[in-house]
Amino acid sequence: MEERESSFTKVKLRREVTVWGSFCWGYADVGADVYVALGLVMAAAQGATPLAFAIAGIVYIFVGLAYTEMASAYPIAGGGQYFTLRGLGDFGGLVAGAALMLDYTVDVALFAIASAGYINFFFPAAREFAVNIGPFHNVNLVWLAESLVLIAFLAVLNIKGIRESSLFNEVLGALDMVMEASIIVIGFAFAWRPELFLHQWHNEFPTTRQLLYAVSIAVISYVGLESVSQAAQETIRPATVIPRTSLALIIIVLMFALAFPTVSLGIVNWQDIARREGDPVAYLATHLPYIGFLAGPMAAVLAATIVLISANTGVMGSSRLAYSMAELGLISDWLSHIHPKFRTPVRSIVFFSAVAAAQAIFAFFSGRKAMETMANMYAFGAMLAYFLSTVALIALRIKEPHTPRPYKVPLNIRIGEAEIPVLGVLGVIGTFAMVVIVLWTHEIARITGPLWVAAWIAYYVWYRHRTGKPIFGNLPRNWDEEQLAILADTGEWELYERFRIELERRRRRSVEAK
């Protein structure tokens, strides 16, 4: 136990992620999403794909601002699950943790499938391969096998303790941004035809249900803000750095997410992109003038790498989350046990990688496009976690108005001591609407998503009952002490002093009141 704590404490306390590193950490995760989402959204939204991305982007802005505030105020690994537990209590934290765990495992499966899809840019036969197995039709066993190999590869890497290097992320993030920006700039400047774009917008507009379905898939382009929060504990001066990197990430990811479908619809027909579910960006890059012959393969290689790294954040994230949940008394610490030789949480890595592999198999046998099935699940987990996180933002404003917030979501209404964020309330409404849309439009997610959460709740009830902990109540915690310790650890002395003085003032006030 001591060994486990010391091992994790070391990891938690090492601060080496710079402002660029923090940005790239998020960008390697969120920036990779468009490689996956473009083809899927195009298939549903057709000529109105930019609109689907824009609608999802509005919700993303609200959620992004909420995460920016909370990640800078509470710079500790745990992300949405930690914020929710702190704001809504243990049960809320468990539900958010379950939703995020779904996201992380789906993230591993979906991005491993996507990485294999981009590898198949060079092997068209593998991309087109399909067999019928009993009642299951058009199952691409080659693509499935490739995906499973990639998942196993990531699991082994993580078991051996090869950590995601910040420098590697920084270099890859920069390369990826240059590549994506080049595709967009060259595409707009030399190949974009507004008449083709308008023609597709007017003549290929989807039905409302199709558009809503597309919006619910488009939200996956914006999933990944968690990684900035997860890396907060390893970020230098997180309270200063995170608001900047998160806000920059919101703007830049939104720009790319809107630019890709817009430039695509002005260069090629939406059907062509939709058909290339596995490698839409590489396909688009091959249609660029002058550099297409080179840009296509380059984009495919870069995309295969960056989406694999995104999958890796899922493996890492699930083990970190399991550790965080065990530490907070939500689950048993069996899963977060540290292997004595590798000094990594082998059980959780193996367990959640196996879950991801099972999800990948399920996706290929689901009778739909494999990536679409995974995207549905991904959207459900993300939206449920984001919904709870935005509720937690408001709860924390009420419960902890004295906590110093280096960044505050703008537009607030003061009620007593608390300031209620209007954009936060809109975020709650937006994410709740997204959860409803996902449940309404996604046949698979509507069953498997709630089932997943229900299974976690059943386990939680059993575990808390067995260990004599309150099921719907909260374990006693001293959040103020913890907050002071976090701020001292981060070296954010301005915030530390503000918080310390505020605590002293509150203490005096309560003494006076007595």
């Binding site: 402002v19 660029w20 940005f23 920006a181 967009i184 700039v185 060259i186 707009f188 400047a189 030399f190 190949a191 974009w192 035809r193 507004p194 001066r237 200063t240 750095v241 900047r244 990197t245 806000l247 920059a248 703007i251 830049i252 720009m255 630019a259 817009t262 002005g266 003038p289 070296g491 002395w493 301005e494 530390y496 002093e497 503000r498 003085i501 002293e504 003032r505 005096r508 006076e512």
Partner: protein, 184 residues
């Protein structure tokens, strides 16, 4: 392939926005060392200031100084008129009418200064055997963070109540103490 002007414009706009966003993100403000942060926020944390009052000009100047110190954080000023009661009398013995009148006048002046700054003032007449004892009591009663005391030293004069008090306060400060010494 002929470039379309709108496409070129969008491409330029995209690049410029991307560049500006990254430039803004990478320009971080300098961090504050712990000692500096402590200094800044300990001053900002001063919410209740006691100003001992006598009907002399330098005390009123101390009120002005205290107001300026407390303006940014909207501090409350406790204007404590100190009456030293001789040991021959009980502490609650009735004050001579001229002392009471002088106290009210001095407090009124001080209050005007505070009002000019838009701050909250609490006035109090504090009786004590020694002025420093009265100030200590005011600090305790009002949970004060700071005492601003105006003192005038004069050559060839017997040290007045405030110089005595300043000496006592500096030896055993009840909280942070600022002594404003105005040359004679």
């Amino acid at each position: 392939m002929q470039p379309h002007p709108l496409g070129v414009l969008i491409a330029i706009g995209f690049l410029v926005t991307l560049g500006l966003t990254l430039f803004w993100m990478l320009r971080l403000p300098q961090p504050l060392p712990q000692e500096v942060a402590k200094a800044i926020y300990s001053v900002e944390a001063t919410r209740v200031i006691v100003v001992p009052i006598l009907d002399l000009f330098y005390s009123e100047r101390a009120v002005e100084l205290a107001c300026r110190l407390g303006r940014q954080q909207h501090a409350t000023l406790v204007l404590a008129y100190i009456v030293e009661v001789p040991r021959l009398l009980t502490l609650d013995a009735p004050l001579p009418p001229e002392v009471d009148e002088r106290a009210q006048k001095a407090l009124e002046h001080a209050q005007r200064i505070v009002e000019r700054h838009g701050l909250k003032a609490i006035t109090d007449i504090v009786r004590a055997r020694e002025a420093d004892e009265g100030i200590r009591r005011a600090v305790r009663n009002y949970q004060a963070d700071l005492v601003v005391l105006g003192v005038q030293f004069a050559e060839n004069r017997v040290p007045g109540i405030f110089t005595r008090t300043a000496d006592a306060l500096l030896r055993r400060p009840p909280c942070e103490v600022i002594i404003d010494t105005v040359p004679a």
